[in-house]
């Protein structure tokens, strides 16, 4: 229980359903002040008190579990390392994968609990299929799609059939003081919300070049490639205007050379996405489905193939701003019962097929550095985007502070 409204109502519903529920708040930092302070974040003493108070009102036991070491190792260090490698991690997804449905779940099961209940907005029915929430704006199936079938079999999401507004109303009706507590939006372990500054402190300044994707020409310098976002237009601070006067966008970040590549908007487009570490729930591939390439991003129709540890999606309409490190989640449309998660994987690369970009644009002059370099740069939109500036920001509403309630079934005592 994070101290927010979702986990409080989830715990209350699990309790109402007759489960023997114990509230658990995750302490993710040894020193709570290290992380976000104020009512909008997680991990603070205030949030811990709010969670405890909600548990009191519901009438369930409440404990704080110290997950600081695991969280730091699996989520924070991973977050920094991914940025250093030129990728864009989703820390909420990692927290679900490694903390809530691994460290917490394993501990809970060992202690005799049957399942972990969270306040995530997603549906998980008796068929074991993970589906989108009825509240599309709040749907969190994207950050849960990383869970394996084993993990899902011990997960309970009681809120998937409700909108956020309904959850708030219910909290108020139940007398839970957190009913109108604001949603959290930022990364819980970056106290001031300044992702760039956080990465700068962790990774240090690393000046490098900003180059034109088509000509290879150096247009400016940067203090650290991790501060740039694929698709970013503002703040490039380029002294040299584009020859055609059109705005330029960040196309890619190349950690090996510490280069930020920029170019015109159309060069952001990709129609083939490859991804690694697939979690696939058994649908035969190739399969025609929708894919989502970032949290709360648009879905794109695609043909997805999973083979040899790689997921490949051929997009039927191109996407922009596809960032390595983000998840690709495949959904089968089901407007009636909620789109079904077929599987997910971690994006390694987005590329433009020959059909999308038949030939690399010619360099303006024969003396341009190299046509092949520009071709490869424009064709590969492998990218890193900073959550603070990307549409994935909303996803961070997932409360990394530990929206976890543990439910014990009646048979809990006999569990191995």
């Amino acid at each position: 229980m994070s101290g927010g409204v979702d986990s409080a109502v989830a715990a209350a519903r699990a309790h109402d359903a007759g489960h023997d529920v114990t509230g658990v708040h995750l302490a993710l930092a040894r020193n709570p002040q290290t992380y976000r302070t104020g009512a909008r974040g997680c991990c603070t003493l205030e949030d811990s008190r709010d969670a405890r108070r909600a548990a009191d009102v519901i009438g369930i036991p409440f404990y704080v579990w110290d997950m600081a070491d695991q969280f730091h190792e699996s989520v924070v260090d991973d977050f920094v390392a991914e940025y250093a490698a030129g990728r864009t991690p989703n820390p909420c997804l990692r927290c679900n994968e490694k903390i809530k449905f691994e460290a917490v779940l394993d501990r809970a099961v060992a202690l005799g609990f049957d399942a972990v209940v969270t306040g995530h907005h997603a549906r998980l029915g008796a068929d074991g299929l993970l589906r989108r929430s009825v509240d599309h704006a709040k749907d969190q199936s994207y950050v849960l799609a990383v869970l394996t079938g084993d993990q899902l079999s011990r997960a309970v999401f009681p809120l998937g059939d409700s909108t956020k507004a309904q959850v708030r109303d219910e909290a108020a009706a139940r007398g839970l003081a957190v009913a109108d507590k604001p949603d959290s939006h930022d990364i819980c372990f970056i106290a001031d919300g300044d992702t760039k500054g956080f990465l700068q402190r962790k990774l240090g300044e690393a000046p490098g070049d900003i180059v034109d994707g088509r000509t290879g020409e150096k247009l400016g310098t940067h203090d650290g490639a991790y501060a740039y976002t694929v698709g970013q237009r503002k703040g490039l601070d380029l002294r040299v205007p584009a020859p055609d006067g059109r705005p330029r966008y960040v196309l890619s970040i190349t950690p090996v050379t510490n280069t930020v590549t920029v170019g015109p908007r159309e060069d952001l487009e990709v129609d083939v996405v490859t991804a690694t570490r697939p979690i696939w729930h058994g649908a035969e591939t190739p399969v025609e489905c929708d894919v989502q390439l970032r949290a709360h991003g648009e879905v794109v129709p695609a043909v997805v193939t999973v083979a040899d540890g790689t997921l490949t999606a051929r997009l039927l309409s191109p996407a922009r701003g596809v960032a390595a490190g983000q998840a690709i989640v495949a959904y089968r449309r089901d407007p009636a019962a909620g789109d079904i998660v077929l599987g997910s994987a971690t994006i390694t690369e987005g590329t433009a097929s020959e059909a999308l970009r038949p030939s690399a644009p010619a360099a303006p002059s024969a003396s341009a550095p190299s046509a092949s370099a520009s071709a490869s740069a424009s064709a590969s939109a492998l990218s890193a985007s900073a959550p603070s500036a990307s549409p994935s920001r909303d996803d961070l509403a997932v409360r990394a502070g530990g929206s976890v309630a543990v439910a014990v079934g009646a048979s809990g005592d006999d569990r191995g």
């Binding site: 023997d20 114990t22 708040h25 302490a27 040894r30 020193n31 709570p32 003493l45 811990s48 405890r52 036991p61 404990y63 704080v64 579990w65 110290d66 600081a68 695991q70 460290a103 394993d106 501990r107 060992a110 202690l111 005799g112």
Partner: protein, 391 residues
């Protein structure tokens, strides 16, 4: 329900509760001059006399406070300030490494904010301060020490300190000696004057009185600078309207428990020995922490190898058995006990510990319930420890 956490707080005695309610029905500020005030004053002064008589102090040496934490802060900071005002040389505080946080953090604060030097006294594996270590510190720093503070009995592992010897060493060097006797009163014989201490902390809710009232027994000739300024109600050392009903109930509880201490210690000590024996039988590799002899009669303290105390507590709680990990919390996250660490335990052993404390309502049925639930809880807690193992 088996309540095995009497050291945290113990149920109020029926006579203390009755005394509280009777006094709370009446109006009157003990500082008021009219008849209602005089009546309240009389209740307070009678209570002061009863506490003094029960604890071997003079009535004027009883300074009522809000409880143990305030008394510990008042003694350590107040005596330090007064002594340093008298001589700037007196800039050192000596305290044991196993003090309650109310002493330990107050002393740390003196170091951080008042520039005090601090000497922490080590303890042996049973948690006991060696008087020769105190003698050595006094030899080395005799002219610098403002105050020495060593608890009468440890709140976690129940170890009794050689308070009389330590107080005598301090007195011989002219240094005020404070002892936190919160856990000791009613459990073992406690006599303030005979102890030789200059100041002693006691509190209501550990002896069957109410929470929120306690006292610092402060020798008449011991200078102490107040923490709280105001009306100067208590010897000008402590200000604040006296809690008449709380004080009356506190006095009733102290008097009652001290009167029955010998009988209590025999009964509860036997229960405790039974608890230890049966826990050992149920969990053969359990480690008993603390002393076998010099310890509080109601205290049993164990480390359960391979378990986290937190996990055990959760499981026992679910089975209706209430105990404590005995460690300090920050945001509810257990830190390994500084007491066990000072006794030489490693982090794992410290984190695997649980405290069971018996009191005036304890019965064999409580121990039966514990022993029935414990083996299963230990088994599960051991499985849960594996969750930390990296995959």
């Amino acid at each position: 329900m088996a309540y095995l956490d009497h050291a945290a707080t113990t149920p109020m005695l029926a006579e203390a509760l009755e005394a509280y309610v009777a006094a709370a029905r009446e109006v009157g500020n003990p500082s008021s001059l009219h008849a209602a005030g005089r009546h309240a004053r009389r209740l307070v002064e009678e209570s002061r006399e009863r506490i003094a008589a029960a604890l071997g102090a003079r009535p004027s040496e009883v300074v009522f406070t809000s409880g143990g934490t305030e008394s510990d802060n008042l003694a350590t900071k107040g005596i330090f300030w007064a002594r340093r005002s008298a001589s700037l040389n007196h800039n050192r505080v000596v305290a044991s490494a196993v003090e309650h946080h109310a002493v330990m953090d107050a002393v740390e604060w003196l170091g951080t904010h008042e520039g005090a030097q601090i000497s922490w006294l080590p303890v042996d594996s049973g948690g006991r301060v060696d008087p020769s270590a105190v003698a050595a510190v006094i030899d080395q720093y005799a002219d610098e020490i403002a105050v020495i503070s060593v608890q009468w009995a440890n709140n976690e592992v129940g170890t009794l300190q050689p308070v009389h010897e330590l107080a005598a060493l301090a007195a011989a060097a002219g240094i005020p000696f404070h002892t936190d006797a919160v856990q000791a009163v009613g459990q073992v014989p406690v006599d303030f004057t005979a102890s030789g201490a200059a100041a002693m902390t006691v509190t209501g809710h550990k002896v069957g009185g109410p929470v929120g009232v306690g006292a610092l027994l402060l020798g008449r000739d011991v200078a102490c600078t107040p923490l709280l300024h105001g009306g100067g109600q208590e010897r000008d050392v402590r200000s604040g309207t006296l809690d008449t009903a709380g004080v009356v109930a506190f006095a009733t509880a102290v008097e009652t428990t001290v009167k029955s201490q010998v009988e209590y210690a025999a009964r509860v000590g036997a229960l405790r020995d039974d608890l230890v024996a049966r826990v050992r039988a149920a969990v053969p590799d359990v480690i008993c922490n603390g002393m076998t002899g010099d310890r509080l009669p109601g205290n049993a303290h164990f480390s359960f190898p391979g378990c986290e105390g937190d996990a055990l507590l959760l499981l026992l709680d679910a089975a209706g058995i209430y105990c404590s990990t005995g460690s300090a919390c920050s945001a509810g996250v257990a830190q390994p006990s500084h007491v066990l660490i000072a006794m030489g335990a490693d982090d794992d052993r410290a984190r695997s510990s649980l405290r069971f404390t018996l009191g005036h309502t304890s019965t064999t049925a409580d121990i039966d319930a514990l022993v029935a639930a414990l083996p299963g809880a230990v088994e599960r807690a051991r499985r849960a420890t594996a969750w930390k193992t990296p995959r």
